[in-house]
Point group: none
DNA sequence: TAAGTTCCCGCATAATCACGCAAATATTTT
DNA sequence: AAAATATTTGCGTGATTATGCGGGAACTTA
């Protein structure tokens, strides 16, 4: 069996199970543990997976483990700042959750007169502190992990809205699947958010570029603008620009 | 199971429940307590959580506890404690806003399995921290002054609910007008809350007795139970008892 | 205070890893 | 096609890591 084949098999297993054990692989592939380990190491260097003691995990684990609850990372401030310029007086803005978004809300100019629609509780609370923002919370059952309202009711009500802008906190974005996320219920809501807005903006710090989770929120061509903390000319962004996204 | 996998699971649990017990984890993950403890310690060193005797807490939990002590008047604690006894497993509870209510939510026993309906943002956020509570947020336009959703949409959806209990944070209560409040939009919602519940409970600290605002929420006879920090035999409560309210 | 947990420490065991080397295999050159 | 070169693989060795267990200390709770 060829090396490439083996590695393809490993990736496949990772995609299915989100993890592999070296011990399993060396039986399935009929090679020594060393070989498996070397394969994993190589794949890890290519960023295809995450090597750990005893095997490897899908890259998505990285986000669970490294869940930076750090509120104000400088990167997030930069992103927030860029995004704020897109919001004009009188706009109706649909806004998702996440710490970047909270940062953004916090930085909104006090004299801005816009209406915000959200399903995320901390964001709503933050928006309430703004002197002029009108806040609409689409409620329903709340999802604990994301602190947001989810479900058919929310999706339906989003369908009745025609927004100018959709600001999307993005967990993972890559060229293949576009924007992806972890939980089905979140996907549903985000999809509806995108659908109801004229322009969709994805806010992602650069480390979330070229990573993907299991479930697709939307393909790349449904995203209009991509905002990262990087300079638009950064090479990491070029493939996205080629796909027609505006980069800020 | 891989170590990182375990740790990811722990982080997930922390994100959902804001806390974990070592004893629970070592059953769920099928490892010894030592291993769990070592995992927690490691995660604590990385700043992902906060280790405490018996388990670990989310890092944010600490902050919320500290900020909570600002509004924790002892009277409110007493009231909250009395009210909690009314909430049983499986109940559907409609709950309004206010600091007393926040105190109450904070003190809910972790093993309580109830569903809560609210329109108040900080209450919703607090409820999300509870490990077992199901939270339903009825959303719409948010009223800044009360940090809650108001409007016809909310009233209508409350009309579709049949709740066991309505916990009402009360600004003013007197013998003539019953419960009163300041703003029209709040009144509307509170009325609907009372109407949809089998039992209405008014939570008020004693200084709010015998005071009234401009607008009536409901007359006294629509309130079933009145909870204050006073002893039920206190003379200030006797007139209310005579009007048929249960006093706790 | 006393009982029951939980924690901490060191140790033993087993699994996993890293490294060098030589054999096997693949690729390029002649 | 043969030789030369490069790459890949497996194995042995010793180092590193992960885990469970015992015993005593520290903490919690009644």
């Amino acid at each position: 069996m060829l090396k490439k084949e083996r590695q393809a098999y490993i990736i496949q297993q990772i995609n299915i199970h989100n993890k592999v054990l070296s011990s399993d692989l060396c039986v399935q592939l009929d090679v020594s543990e060393d070989t498996v380990r070397r394969d994993l190491q190589e794949l890890a260097e290519e960023g295809k997976l995450m090597k750990v003691h005893g095997g490897a995990l899908a890259k998505s684990f990285h986000f669970t483990i490294e869940s930076k609850q750090v509120y104000s990372l400088p990167e997030k401030k930069i992103i927030a700042h860029k995004a704020i310029d897109l919001i004009k007086d009188g706009m109706l803005v649909v806004i998702s959750g996440g710490t970047t978004m909270r940062e953004l809300v916090n930085m909104l100019p006090p004299d801005l007169n816009a209406t915000f629609v959200t399903t995320n509780v901390p964001i709503a609370l933050e928006l309430l502190e703004h002197p002029n923002a009108e806040v609409i919370f689409l409620g329903n059952k709340l999802l604990k992990s994301a602190q947001m309202a989810v479900g058919a009711e929310v999706v339906q009500r989003l369908g009745q809205i025609k927004a100018d802008l959709c600001l999307l906190g993005t967990n993972s974005i890559d060229l293949h699947l576009g924007i992806t996320d972890l939980e089905w219920e979140i996907i549903e809501v985000k999809k509806a958010m995108i659908a109801c807005a004229q322009k969709t903006v994805s806010l992602a710090i650069s480390e979330k570029l070229n990573s993907s989770q299991r479930l697709q929120v939307c393909p790349l061509d449904e995203v209009d603008i991509l905002i990262t903390e990087l300079d638009p000319s950064d090479e990491r962004l070029i493939p996205y620009a080629k796909r027609g996204l505006s980069i800020l």
